[in-house]
Amino acid sequence: MGWSRRNTYWALRLEDGENGGGVRRVDEACWGASESSNMSDATVMLAAIEAGDSKAAEQLLVIVYDELRRLAASKLALEAPGQTLQPTALVHEAWLRLVGDQAPSFNDREHFFRASAEAMRRILIDRARRKHTKRHGGGYQRLDFEGFDLAAPLVDDQLLAVNEALDKFAAEHPVQADLVKLRYFAGLTNEEVSQVLGISVSTAKNYWTFSRAWLLNEMEG
């Protein structure tokens, strides 16, 4: 067990293409360090966003991004073979770790979920791009630690194709593109999405159906 976990750590570090940062992150995630300071940072940023601080949203995104990456790394390091990252679970766990169970305002949830959706999109797309590059011989030598980067290539390619189509979609249908990010990348339910976007659940469902048809047509075209 110890041996296989160590190998997974290395795979994560190399996968992330960093100079040692990944190992530190995994260790922090495993031993729960620095949780309380991140929690206060996130709540400070949520309050600043509410107060109209234009830079606070970007800073919240950075905090949420770091936390989601830490959680993803610890999940992949500790869970049994066959496990995959579940965006929904990661986002909800990040909420508990960063904001806690203090009664959040409605707007806090909206800001947090929007930041989470964008952070998950960046994490998943960066990962898929790195794997894509490796498969096509660029960058690094291929690494197959414990089968870590053998996650189905088709899944990565679809992820990259969806992301590309989504950029075009956002230019014409920005609200619906936000809905796709919240549902697909952050794994929110129709009910949660409708709260974040301030629309009814039935409208959220209609937007989702329209968005899927639009994106499929774009990707096939």
Binding site: A72, L85, Y184
Partner: protein, 65 residues
Amino acid sequence: MKGDPGRELVVFTEALKVPVQERAAFLERTCAGDENLRHKVETLLSAHDRLGDFLEEPPTGASVE
């Protein structure tokens, strides 16, 4: 309202509520000569028929196999 992307969404959503055999007549009536809109909605309705579980599964960015 011509060229308004929101129109595409509204007509598509309404068309889905109409029985399949009545959709052509519905689009004829609703698009009222706006061939661009009608073509867009017809294309989307066709894509809708092929959706399956497209995007319903969360993306798995990495897995331990």
